[in-house]
């Protein structure tokens, strides 16, 4: 049934936005991390979304052959920023190299804050979708009363 598969689709949207939020929060928390287990400063991470047509159970896959297929979303990839870190001149810092420069993560916290807001808005929209579809299913049941 279309409405039940809509629930799966919205659920996948919620998961994807939540994963994105986790990455963004990690970025913000590590904005000044100069030391990581892999060596070097923290590198910014980002999530790449891709639409995903195999959401839900097998019946949904069959139905998608007959009806317009709704696609969910999944996190296809987590990309790590490969740019060179930002070097700041701080001779007294424990992580300073021989020239006195410390490698800091190349990040713009303002950008991440905006992305966080966008992810939050997307999450809320998916929650609204689930709630609305649930009400529609409830109304169908009310026909029996």
């Amino acid at each position: 049934m279309s409405l039940f598969s809509a629930l799966s689709v919205s659920a996948s949207g919620m998961s994807a936005q939540r994963a994105r939020t986790e990455l963004l929060v990690e970025n913000l928390a590590n904005a000044d991390t100069t030391r990581t287990p892999e060596g070097g400063p923290y590198r910014r991470k980002d999530a790449v979304f891709a639409s995903d047509s195999t959401v839900g159970q097998f019946s949904a896959m069959f139905e998608s052959e007959v009806n317009p297929s709704a696609s969910g979303v999944r996190v296809a990839q987590v990309v790590t920023d490969q740019r060179d870190p930002e070097m700041r001149y701080l001779p007294g810092h424990p992580d300073a190299n021989k020239d006195g420069y410390v490698a800091y993560p190349r990040m713009n916290p303002a950008e991440d804050m905006v992305d966080l807001l966008s992810a939050s808005r997307g999450y809320q929209a998916n929650v609204a979708a689930i709630s609305t579809v649930k009400d529609m299913i409830q109304h169908s049941l009310d026909l029996m009363k």
């Binding site: 049934m1 279309s2 409405l3 598969s5 809509a6 629930l7 689709v9 919205s10 996948s12 949207g13 994807a16 936005q17 994105r20 790449v48 979304f49 891709a50 639409s51 007959v66 009806n67 317009p68 709704a70 696609s71 969910g72 979303v73 966008s118 992810a119 808005r121 997307g122 929209a125 998916n126 609204a128 979708a129 689930i130 609305t132 579809v133 009400d135 529609m136 109304h139 169908s140 009310d142 026909l143 009363k145």
Partner: protein, 115 residues
């Protein structure tokens, strides 16, 4: 007797469900690069079904005029939220109408029993 409008109401609600599923899909993919908004031409599909043409399923169309973002995604969250609310309202209108029709037939049966 049960078909006339009750039958159309069922098709109306089915089309609304399909449309709502596409809206959910659009909302879930609001940040997916390269994703285009999916929709169905509701009026055309409903008119087609009323004329009794049995087709496999409604065709997906891509609405035009939506602003495209830099990553190739053209989902407008405002449009999808509006459609979400509108579809839900129409659905509840249809169920109310169907319910009142069923009740009318039911009361006719009930009154007939006591005769």
């Amino acid at each position: 007797m049960f078909e006339a409008v009750a039958g159309n109401l069922e098709q109306y609600m089915s089309l609304l469900s399909v449309r709502q599923k596409l809206v959910s899909s659009n909302i879930a993919n609001a940040d997916t690069p390269g994703y285009h908004t999916q929709d169905i031409d509701f009026r055309a599909e409903f008119a087609q079904q009323m004329q009794g043409q049995e087709c496999l399923g409604p065709q997906t169309v891509e609405p035009t005029g939506l602003p495209m973002k830099a990553d190739g995604n053209n989902v407008s969250l405002d449009r999808e939220t509006r459609l979400l609310a509108e579809n839900a309202l129409r659905f509840s209108i249809a169920t109310s109408l169907a319910r009142s029709q069923l009740h009318a037939i039911q009361s006719a049966i009930e009154d007939g029993k006591s005769a």
